[in-house]
């Protein structure tokens, strides 16, 4: 029992990062119905920029993080404006999908040209140590990651709920024609959504890099698929569902590592997620919970 709870706490820490990715990913899906398969590689490139700023330019990790957040937002917005908009506007969904995959590789290649193919050590954001809470050995870094991810999601929920732009995003996601009719600048909102998605995702990527002390050139695809799976299983189109899906994925992974083997954790977790999707085809949370504002 003690061991189980220990694993679950670690799973939730891990899951809070996936939840942030899934939320960022689902946001784009909800407003556009577009699978943004360049999502993770836009984050990878920005995270590599952060690494370069710290290791070669000697910036403080936190300043570099702030710049990387802005970079992730800008890269995501550029992809939307310069690439996706050209396909979506013409109703060419499949071609847009291929373009997204091509974008992913282009971004990854830019990252590797910048930093090489070797795994990258990630700058330390928090000095982690083991702390003992009620008999459990927990890493302080993991708890801070959990806290920051939760704080980011709460801030984002408040943004959607209470600001004019946030409400515009939610409403445009529900009905674009209705949004245009009431004067919501749908085109601008879409670009903002990409920017916000990149910024949220990068916070998650930095937490991930900090927790594992490193990233490599395949981390982008990994992020995209973790986000895609968590968002889909949680309930495609539901933001709260994406968060729930991310936490579920983290929990399952942690239990798989603890009771089976680290080698099979990923395979087991994705298989389990596929089975959940089979049982609940509309997602853990159906379609209509979060969109209420």
């Amino acid at each position: 029992m003690h061991y189980l709870i220990q694993l679950m706490i670690e799973g939730i820490e891990q899951g809070s990062i996936y939840a942030l990715w899934a939320l960022a990913y689902a946001l784009v899906y909800q407003v556009l119905g577009l699978m943004n398969f360049a999502f993770g590689d836009a984050l990878l490139l920005s995270a590599y920029l952060m690494i370069a700023l710290v290791t070669t330019s000697g910036l403080s990790p936190w300043l570099a993080l702030a710049i990387a957040i802005a970079a992730a937002a800008v890269v995501s917005m550029l992809i939307e404006r310069q690439v996706y908009a050209r396909f979506i506007g013409r109703g060419q969904g499949e071609a847009g999908f291929i373009a997204a995959l091509a974008c992913a590789y282009i971004l990854r290649n830019i990252a590797t040209v910048m930093r090489g193919n070797e795994p990258q050590t990630f700058p330390t954001l928090f000095n982690s140590s083991l702390v003992s809470v009620a008999g459990y050995q927990l890493s302080s870094g993991g708890l801070i990651v959990l806290g920051l991810c939760v704080a980011t999601m709460v801030a984002f929920a408040l943004f959607l709920r209470s600001t004019k732009v946030g409400r515009g995003i939610v409403l445009a996601g529900q009905d674009r024609v209705a949004a245009a009719i009431v004067g919501i600048p749908v085109r601008k909102v879409i670009t903002i959504v990409y920017g916000v998605s990149g910024a949220l995702g990068l916070i998650g990527a930095a937490m991930f890099g900090d927790l594992y002390h490193g990233l490599n050139s395949t981390t982008g695809f990994y992020i995209t698929f973790q986000a895609f799976i968590a968002a889909t299983v949680g309930g495609a189109g539901s933001l709260l569902g994406a968060v729930v899906g991310g936490l579920a994925l983290g929990l399952i992974e942690s239990l798989a590592v603890g009771y089976v083997s680290g080698n099979f954790a990923q395979a087991l977790a994705w298989t389990a997620m596929a089975m959940i999707a089979l049982i609940r085809p509309r997602g853990l949370l159906g379609h209509r919970v979060v969109e209420r504002v």
Binding site: K164, R167, G168, V170, L171, Q174, D175, V177, A178, A179, A180, I181, V182, G183, I184, P185, V186, R288, E291, R292, V293
Partner: protein
């Protein structure tokens, strides 16, 4: 600001198309602030297209749309909203997973005096019991009549110069039809902002005549009758539908 004698909306020999297909031909009409112009006619006559054309959702192939004394060029729904043209489309097109109150709020999205918006929403909810009943309910679970009150309210909260309403009585219980038409009359005469010009597409002839100042009947995309309300009885209009 234009005086009351300048029409808010003037259509001059307007023809509209979807792609290559011309659907509305040669329609002219004028609506002033505080007036309701009812457009009637059978299904497929081009009524919805006429409203779509005013906000740029159907393309203008000939003629002019003059709004507040200036021709409307390169219009789209978003620019129309900015010019304070409120569109209450057929089927109402509310935000399905947003509450009644949030749907009302969305109508004020483009308003400059947004500081007053919350109070205006409160006033609207206080004035219309149907709106109060569904203020917290998502649009997707509202009845047709409740949706219609919120949809017109959403338009009204933009403080429109011009409101375009498409078939508001469609699928409504008779009691709510009355309520909805009271609301339409109220929007037209709203003293708080000099009233709105209303173009009302409606097949319920009696309900339409209860609020209309002018009437036109479209058939096959063309005007077959046009005039002041008093010119025709409901029975006359019924006959025209048949031809």
């Amino acid at each position: 600001m234009s005086g009351a004698d300048v029409p808010v909306l003037e259509l001059e020999r307007l023809s509209l198309a979807y792609g290559e297909t011309v659907v509305v031909r040669d329609v002219s009409l004028k609506v002033r602030a505080g007036e309701v112009y009812a457009v009637m006619g059978p299904n497929g006559a081009g009524k919805t297209t006429l409203l779509n054309g005013i906000v740029g959702m159907a393309s203008r192939v000939e003629g002019r749309i003059v709004f507040d004394g200036e021709p409307l060029e390169r219009i789209n729904p978003q620019r129309a909203a900015k010019r304070r043209i409120a569109y209450v489309p057929q089927g109402r097109q509310l935000f399905p997973y947003a509450s009644g109150r949030m749907n009302l709020w969305s109508g004020g999205y483009g308003r400059r005096d947004r500081g007053r918006l919350e109070k205006d929403i409160d006033d609207f909810i206080a004035a219309w019991p149907v709106a109060a009943r569904v203020a917290k309910r998502n649009a997707e679970v509202m009845s047709g009549g409740e949706q219609q009150v919120i949809a017109i309210g959403r338009g009204a909260l933009s403080k429109p110069r011009l409101m375009l309403i498409d078939e508001p009585s469609l699928g409504l219980a008779p009691i709510l039809v009355q309520e909805v038409f009271k609301l339409i009359a109220d929007v037209a005469s709203d003293a708080s902002h000099a009233g709105a010009a209303v173009v009302l597409v409606e097949q319920n002839v009696e309900a339409a005549l209860s609020v209309a100042d002018h009437v036109c009947i479209l058939s096959g995309g063309q005007v077959v009758h046009q005039g002041a309300r008093g010119d025709l009885t409901a029975a006359d209009i019924g006959d025209m539908y048949l031809h």
